[in-house]
Symmetry: C2
Subunit: 300 residues, 2 copies
Amino acid sequence: MSKSNNVYKDAFNRCLRLLDETKSLPSEPELGTLLGVSRTTVRSILSRMEETGLIAWNKRSKTVLRAPRPEDFFPEEETDSLAEIIERSFMRRLLAEGAEAGMQINELELAREIGVGTTSVREFLIRFSRFGLIEKRRNSHWVLKGFTRAFALELTEIREMFELRSAAAFAALPEDSAVWADLDRLEVEHRQLASEIATRFNEFSELDERFHRLIHRASHNRFIVDFYDVIAMIFHYHYQWNKAEERQRNEVAVQEHLAYIAALKSRDPGKVDAACRKHLKSARQTLLSSIPEGRQAQPA
Amino acid sequence: MSKSNNVYKDAFNRCLRLLDETKSLPSEPELGTLLGVSRTTVRSILSRMEETGLIAWNKRSKTVLRAPRPEDFFPEEETDSLAEIIERSFMRRLLAEGAEAGMQINELELAREIGVGTTSVREFLIRFSRFGLIEKRRNSHWVLKGFTRAFALELTEIREMFELRSAAAFAALPEDSAVWADLDRLEVEHRQLASEIATRFNEFSELDERFHRLIHRASHNRFIVDFYDVIAMIFHYHYQWNKAEERQRNEVAVQEHLAYIAALKSRDPGKVDAACRKHLKSARQTLLSSIPEGRQAQPA
DNA sequence: AAAATGTTTTTTCCCGATAAAAGACATTAC
DNA sequence: GTAATGTCTTTTATCGGGAAAAAACATTTT
């Protein structure tokens, strides 16, 4: 078993959802673009859909025969890529108790525990290293630096530097730039979410990420844009395992975003700076307050 | 052949140079620390030294029998790690003519060309991706973004942001911090180099890196410190293949560094900021002027 | 002839295996 | 009894191979 077919399975599931909407499927290249996979994979999907009686397939005609049933779908867990599986396992360990700074990370042990080859674990660790949480000793093990208070402070320092600059660049964008329409759409989504915050507060994370990425993109600097990956990763996992006060936290953040959006639309540098600072400050507070006090770096 | 023994060969060569200085070698653990390798490797080295009549080895006594001869050394090219070999080959391609933005990068082709396994190339590309010059298409090839004017501008933008902040932090460091002694030493080295610039101008690169790293370290922020890797890599390769006006360029830079050092020692924030800005500005100019005009990003 | 389908080739992703190197444990020397 | 040496075990670095997925090429359909 050298490579799982999760790409196929995931695309198959997504394709099933398309069946509900139409009576017949489009051409193979079109489906490929739609699903983000190659024609090879599209044809595998169509083959199986034909076999299981979902469609009748003859060259260009792909007629839907019946609606998909729950058992037609591949199980969710089989649609994840190896990288995602490894990332999740690793993050669970990292944020769990007992993951102290200075700890060694063993590729072989990780691989065995997760049930994957060492190559995949190595590649993951190399990719992950840019988040600043682990460090490699040449020809030897990785060292965990730990999700410490220091890490959070260093992260937010850069974030604030980058976002203040991006926000200023955003506000200076010409009137006819497409970003203003994007911002308007995000504003509407924020208002909707604000009005139903009691039930939909957990949808904030995703909106938050889209909003900040839009702002960072205005910097037109790949290093700033890429750095948001670090922030997004930390927030994603950290809040996934730390639900305390989530609702109230998000309620406050939505309002801050709305003020921030208003400031951007005013295009007044002073107002933008103030609104941005205010939001970043409370974001930092939230992150810091959720780091256990005991989680300190060990002396080297 | 699964792994080359370049660690051993490199450490062996370095150990040979130690023979000149002493009549007998220290203990195995001590040698290990000195050479930065494990005892296992130290023992391999000692074995060979005994075999080739360089030392007499019996338990604790390791007496030097003769001075090392040129033929005792392993060839230089056998002491490089695979990662270094791949990096050099890749950078040569990248900075050569014809490496246009948008070009595809083929792991298999690279591996065959360099004569290594695909795994090593993959790992290299993942590590290299943080430099912002290449980008991965999921389940598909890498795309070259190219060493363009835009790249240089984005890089220097961050560099300037980080270095101004680091320099300010540096100047604010307490009198008894160890960095002031480090700075003094660097100042002496700068003065020495300045006085012999006509013959030693090519030693500037290394000094430059040590100087800027010292400053960046004052930020106490891992993201700032790590970002210097990007700068160092670009400067290293770029100047290696671009020797135009090297002497004059370095002569100017040394003087700027000396002014910068003086400003830091004055601990006057205004002076530090001015000296830092001046140096960064000329560094940016130098980098930009050396990028061929034709090297522009292609429309997506 | 443009765009689809059918077929073949190439590349990516991932595993298992193996030598190099590190690390751990046992024993000896000072 | 500390610190070295001697020996054994584990981990890392790297390759080759094979299935999944992409990409390229050939053929047909509209």
